[in-house]
């Protein structure tokens, strides 16, 4: 079974801090994704990556950056955390190509105070 592991289940940070969320997958998937999930808004794509060192902006990239130095690891960075970035963050991976199922981690619930 594919396993996508997110480094923290719960995280509390202060406004203005630089925050790192880590995601690791163990199935050699080419694609990796970062979403945030908010009540009533569903899953919204922040960034995705289809290869090492490659990244594409999703629908809501403002205030975020990403890093993919190794195939199995995809990091989400909040450059200067703000309270409106309090959310559930979900990482996913999939094989290359269309019609591939995405495999999700269990999420990091991030609170910015």
């Amino acid at each position: 079974d594919v396993k996508v592991t997110q480094s923290s289940r719960y995280l509390v940070k202060r406004t203005g801090e630089k925050v790192f969320l880590e995601c690791v997958q163990d199935m050699d998937h080419e694609n990796m994704f970062w979403y945030r999930q908010d009540p009533g808004l569903g899953l919204r794509l922040i960034y995705f990556s289809y290869d090492v060192k490659m990244k594409e902006k999703g629908d809501i990239p403002e205030g975020y950056s990403v890093s993919r130095e190794k195939k199995e690891r995809f990091s989400l960075i909040l450059e200067s955390a703000s309270t409106n970035q309090t959310s559930m963050y979900l990482c996913a991976s999939s094989r290359q190509g269309q019609s591939r199922a995405q495999h999700f981690g269990d999420g990091t619930r991030l609170s910015i105070l």
Binding site: G40, L90, Q102, F104
Partner: protein, 114 residues
Amino acid sequence: SQKIEQNSEALNIQEGKTATLTCNYTNYSPAYLQWYRQDPGRGPVFLLLIRENEKEKRKERLKVTFDTTLKQSLFHITASQPADSATYLCALDPGYNQGGKLIFGQGTELSVKP
């Protein structure tokens, strides 16, 4: 504008009945559509995929239909059980060769009462 919409209200049904969830979309021409299940505090889990040239797909008690004319997918759970209670998400590819990217609906919460 492009939209994907699911029943916004929670669906409450009695055990043993068939649950039907709706996913409507506008201004997309997806080649395929996927359904996921999400339990509280967990990430979504893939259930089924249906392609644009398939009218219907089945997997055990699950059935998905895809009507590209109506721009709608229906997700059915037959003989529902309390363990089927969860949020169900539909997702479609946005077309134009975006290599695995999906657009998700906001999900429908299903509650099956014993």
